[in-house]
């Protein structure tokens, strides 16, 4: 006798610890295997793009902090680069170097959270996560020293930075850069060869090179699929063309490769910070820009390599004090588009890992 079976619809989220915020996956199950998936988002929509239209160009900077709240410095940087391109403002050399240092520190901090949360999803409950938070805390301390806050830094300004770093910043940064490789080695000993992690993440959620390019993926997810694409190399902004660093790539494009690429990226970011600390000149950190700027009518798009991928700001000006239109090309949203292809065919417990390996922030997806 044949039992009559039918697919079962399971809602994962929107309030579930493994969905990294308020994300909902409407999964159709055949037993334990996922045969259909519908991502549902929009629970954290705050209308930031619309709010930007009624604020002055300088007043939008605190809003960009709230997009990807784990990488506020990168968001600040992408936005001010777009405004500077629109209005044709030049930035002093010292400010450019400091921006590079801040952006790279922010990348390290964001990758630590990404890896920690991914390992957490794999079942290593909060021990590695808190080890990584300890190193992130050191970076957050440095950001607190320069900007005065620990999460929403609001440090970049149009034409430079809000203020120069204090005297005690560079000794502390030097100490951090010297300490950090030992701690990366600790993470490697802790997890790199862990059999449980290997069994759960190797070969799971493979994203082919072709599909990754076709779906306009970016950042570590794209590089794990074997595409050597980094905005800092292919379209250098600030002073990135003066530094020597490698672009780490994966081979297969599975969850393990994405984790490896992120660890390798931390090492490369440390290399960039070391070189920037040696080369940094003295001088002003902000060019003479008035509080209210009237950029000429036109449009500009600036993009940077944010921790999650290519973060771009598209601005349209109508020669008034506020942007006519502000659009954010959010890497988290773009990287979510392949979620369905990666998950279908795997079981529920694999879906959590695959979703965690993409590393998204819901603040950026919904905006």
């Amino acid at each position: 006798m044949m039992l009559k079976t039918e697919p079962f619809v399971l809602n994962i989220g929107p309030v579930h610890p493994s969905t990294h915020g308020v994300f909902r996956m409407r999964a159709t199950l055949d037993g334990e295997v996922i045969i259909g998936l519908e991502p549902v988002f929009g629970y954290l929509h705050r209308g930031i793009e619309k709010l930007a239209e009624e604020r002055t160009y300088g007043g939008v900077i605190p809003l960009t902090d709230r997009l990807d709240y784990l990488a506020s410095m990168s968001n600040n940087l992408a936005y001010v680069l777009a405004v500077e391109k629109l209005a044709g403002i030049s930035v002093p050399e010292r400010a450019q170097y400091l921006r590079v240092i801040m952006a790279e520190l922010q990348r390290i901090a964001a990758f630590l959270i990404a890896v920690g949360a991914f390992i957490n999803d794999c079942g290593a409950f909060f021990t590695p996560f808190l080890y990584m938070f300890r190193e992130r805390e050191k970076i957050v301390d440095l950001f607190e020293m320069v900007s005065g806050q620990r999460l929403l830094y609001n440090y970049m300004r149009i034409g430079g930075l809000s203020q120069d770093v204090p005297d005690e910043f560079f000794p502390a940064l030097d100490r951090f850069v010297r300490q950090m490789p030992a701690f990366i080695g600790e993470y490697e000993r802790l997890l790199k060869e862990n059999e449980i992690l290997l069994a759960r993440a190797k070969g799971v959620g493979i994203l082919s090179q072709e599909k990754a390019v076709n779906c306009s993926m970016s950042g570590p997810v794209l590089r794990a699929s074997g595409v050597k694409w980094d905005i800092r190399k292919v379209d250098p902004y600030l002073v990135y063309d003066r530094f020597e660093f490698d672009v780490p790539t994966g081979s297969v494009g599975d969850c393990y490769d994405r984790y490896r690429v992120r660890i390798e990226e931390i090492r490369q970011s440390l290399r960039i910070i070391k070189q920037a600390m040696e080369q940094i000149p003295s001088g002003a950190v902000k060019s003479d820009v008035p509080h209210l700027i009237h950029p000429p009518a036109g449009e500009a798009y600036a993009h940077i390599e944010a921790p999650k991928g290519e973060l771009g700001f598209y601005l349209v000006s109508d020669n008034s004090i506020a942007p006519y239109r502000c659009h954010v090309r959010a890497p988290s949203l773009m990287n979510l588009t392949t979620l369905r292809e990666m998950i279908i065919g795997w079981k529920i417990q694999d879906a959590i890992i695959i979703f965690g390996s993409i590393d998204i922030t819901m603040g950026e997806v919904d905006r």
Partner: protein, 166 residues
């Protein structure tokens, strides 16, 4: 997945965990032990100088949230503006610090305090008397004022507290 020797990776990882038993803790017990915050902390209050403020309202125009309210009247005897009302609803304030940076007369500071929880929402509205620098009750932070920052205690850094090699 097939492994040649199952368990070696896990054992390696456990050595790291065991080594953590002999390390100093990185956390502190908050209400009893306190770390120094940044000298530039953007605390959740504003400090306003009655003597330096001219009532030009640049801060109110710069504020992205529009929470600063200023009412001025003309003082004919002194031939200047009298600031009749200066009010900030700190419940709406996002502590971005743009008002402090924009003030042309150096009359506005971020506050150094950060434990400012209130029981009622209307208590968050700060008036002239609550924010006044001259009353001596408020400690301004060094945000955008390096000469104040130099006087404040040095920030405790985790990177300096961890001394042993990993």
């Amino acid at each position: 997945m097939k492994f040649e020797h199952y368990g070696i990776g896990i054992a390696k990882g456990l050595t790291v965990t065991i080594r953590h038993l002999f390390r100093h803790p990185v956390t502190v017990q908050h209400p009893e032990q306190r770390l120094n915050t940044s000298r530039r902390i953007r605390g959740n209050e504003l400090v306003w100088s009655r003597d330096r403020c001219t009532g030009c309202a640049t801060c109110a125009k710069t504020c992205p949230q529009g929470v600063i309210q200023i009412v001025t009247s003309v003082d004919l005897v002194g031939n200047k503006y009298e600031v009749a009302k200066y009010e900030v609803d700190t419940g709406y304030c996002i502590s971005c610090g743009l008002c402090v940076e924009s003030c042309p007369y150096g009359a506005l500071f971020m506050g150094y305090a950060y434990e400012r929880a209130k029981y009622r929402r209307n208590e968050l509205v700060q008036g002239k008397e609550d924010m006044m620098l001259e009353s001596g009750k408020k400690q301004p932070s060094g945000y955008f004022y390096p000469e104040i920052a130099r006087e404040l205690p040095r920030q405790t850094l985790l990177v300096e507290r961890i001394t042993e090699k990993a």
